[in-house]
């Protein structure tokens, strides 16, 4: 199981965008119409929830005098007290989208750079292997086998 954080930071926005692409592209061999319909309902539900959240957040910020400075940072040009939903949304969404864009661009650039480096190497054989070799393990020490004391009847490994 993944050790990440299923939340709605960059990852959440990335998956929201991916879901929209999925909906626009339509059914494929691995995804039925039912799955697509379910994903559409969830995706548009999340978008509605996003809108609601920003609206509530805007209301809360507008009522908090201590947050005047914060609101000025988040939405330059807007005076405190009129800190409305679109201000926060418009202020933060491009930043998040740009962050995702930069991240994906960075990944692609590293990939291209690695490919170019591999291209410079002289091939050792004229017969290409069918599959790339399994990468060697880094210099990890062997795993130490330690079973924890059974402090629970349901202790197990997963």
């Amino acid at each position: 199981m993944i050790a990440g954080l299923p939340g709605t930071g960059l990852g959440g926005l990335f998956y929201l965008a991916a879901a929209l692409v999925m909906i626009l592209r339509g059914k494929n061999a691995r995804t039925s119409w039912q799955t697509l319909a379910r994903m559409s309902a969830i995706t548009f539900g999340i978008l509605a929830a996003l809108w609601l959240t920003y609206w509530v957040l805007g209301e809360l910020l507008a009522r908090s005098a201590n947050l005047a400075d914060a609101s000025a940072i988040l939405a330059p040009g807007q005076s405190p007290g009129v800190f409305q939903l679109p201000s926060i949304f418009i202020a933060t969404l491009p930043v998040q989208l740009a962050s995702i864009g930069l991240l994906l661009l960075g990944v692609e650039l590293i990939h291209l750079w690695l490919k170019s480096q591999q291209g410079k190497k002289k091939p050792e054989s004229i017969v290409a292997p069918q599959h790339p070799a399994v990468p060697d393990a880094p210099a990890f020490a062997p795993i130490e086998r330690v079973w924890a004391p059974r402090d629970d009847a349901s202790v197990t490994r997963k």
Binding site: M1, I2, A3, G4, L5, P6, G7, T8, G9, L10, G11, F14, Y15, A18, A19, M22, N28, R30, T31, T35, R38, M39, A41, I42, G45, I46, A49, L50, T53, L57, S64, N66, L67, A70, L104, G106, V107, I110, H111, L114, H131, P132, P135, A137, F140, A141, I143, E144, R145, V146, W147, A148, R150, D151, D152, S154, V155, T156, R157, K158
Partner: protein
């Protein structure tokens, strides 16, 4: 693939160490499948309790390595040489299956290049705060993230608790490796590197026992977080060569890192700096968005109230997860100190 062929084509490996409390339920769920497997092999990893005897009493094959293999990967790979069927499944000894789980998961192997398939995971018990948090996490991940990964043909990981594999492909890569603490992620990424496909089957459902207390959750999160970091370190070149997978992994890694910093450092600092406790509400800013996929999945299972009652538990679980993820990144990638201790505890 006909149903009869499917029934004869699958061996299930159940690695078990001191699992006398759970092994009978697991084997019963296997034997009661609509498509029962041809063979069930329990690897009694030198248990000191009655695990082996209980398994034998259920009429399954029980094998015992000469000495404790020390990890799930080791036990599973030990059994791989005894597999005679084209497909093999790994099932945790504390995990039970929905009655049609095997029938459903086998539908994924419709082309020869599909080497692995995984199903939907949901906690068997939803009682403590940690089990409830995990319940919400799974509902979210398996109803929203995983179907998207599957659509783009790159499920990020075939879950170790319940996944099926093509035996030849598994042997080709040497079985489950114990070189990292997340053998399932290691195997999934290795298979992608070899050009194989991996599928997610949402209808194939399994129910593992999740950590019920903080000490148990800590062990599991440490293993998962360090395993993730180890696999990124081990496979980054391979992952970069696989379209979409490189995006999924990069987003997961960066999001987990920066979200953790946001939760544990930035948010408390901002609240103090602006003397605005209201800012702490941002810890729960995404609750409404999380609710949508969670309630959708829960409603389809008739578990709406259980999901609603469990959502608050997701927030402390996420904070704990943040801590251990940062600790793993710091330790594995920045300090170069790799966790090599496989602590049992889910």
């Amino acid at each position: 693939m006909s149903k009869m062929l499917e029934a004869n084509s699958l061996t299930v490996i159940v690695p078990a160490y001191n699992e006398q409390a759970n092994i009978a339920d697991t084997l019963h769920s296997l034997q009661a499948q609509t498509t029962p497997p041809a063979t069930i092999i329990v690897v009694d990893d030198c248990s000191t309790d009655e695990t082996g005897a209980l398994a034998r009493a259920r009429g399954v094959t029980v094998i015992r390595p000469p000495k404790n293999t020390g990890s799930k990967a080791g036990a599973q790979t030990f059994a791989l040489s005894a597999v005679r069927t084209p497909l093999v499944m790994a099932l945790d000894a504390d995990t039970i299956l929905a009655p049609d789980a095997i029938e459903k998961i086998l539908t994924a192997f419709d082309t020869p290049d599909v080497a692995a398939a995984c199903g939907l995971v949901l906690p068997r018990y939803v009682r403590t705060i940690w089990e409830r948090g995990r319940y919400v996490e799974y509902l979210l991940a398996f109803s929203f993230y995983k179907p998207i990964q599957n659509y783009f043909e790159k499920p990020m990981i075939a879950s170790g608790c319940f996944s099926a594999y093509r035996t030849d492909a598994l042997r080709e890569v040497g079985g489950w490796s114990a070189r990292t603490l997340a053998e399932d992620m290691d195997l999934t990424w290795t298979l992608y590197g070899r050009g194989y496909r991996v599928r997610f089957v949402a209808d194939a459902v399994c129910y593992p026992i999740e950590p019920s207390s903080l000490p148990l959750m800590r062990k599991q999160l440490r293993r998962w977080s360090h395993g993730f970091a180890q696999n990124v370190q081990l496979h980054w070149r391979t992952v970069l060569d696989v379209p979409m997978l490189r995006w999924f992994v990069a987003v997961a890694f960066v999001d987990a890192t920066f979200s953790s910093l946001y939760y544990l450092l930035l948010l408390p600092l901002l609240a103090v700096a602006f003397a605005a406790p209201l800012l702490l509400l941002l810890y729960a800013i995404d609750v409404t968005m999380i609710l949508v996929p969670v309630l959708y999945q829960a409603a389809s299972r008739g578990e709406t109230l259980r999901a609603l009652a469990s959502v608050p538990s997701f927030l402390p679980l996420r904070l704990v997860n943040s801590f251990y993820f940062l600790e793993a990144v710091w330790s594995e990638l920045l300090r170069g100190r790799s966790l090599r201790v496989y602590e049992k505890g889910h």
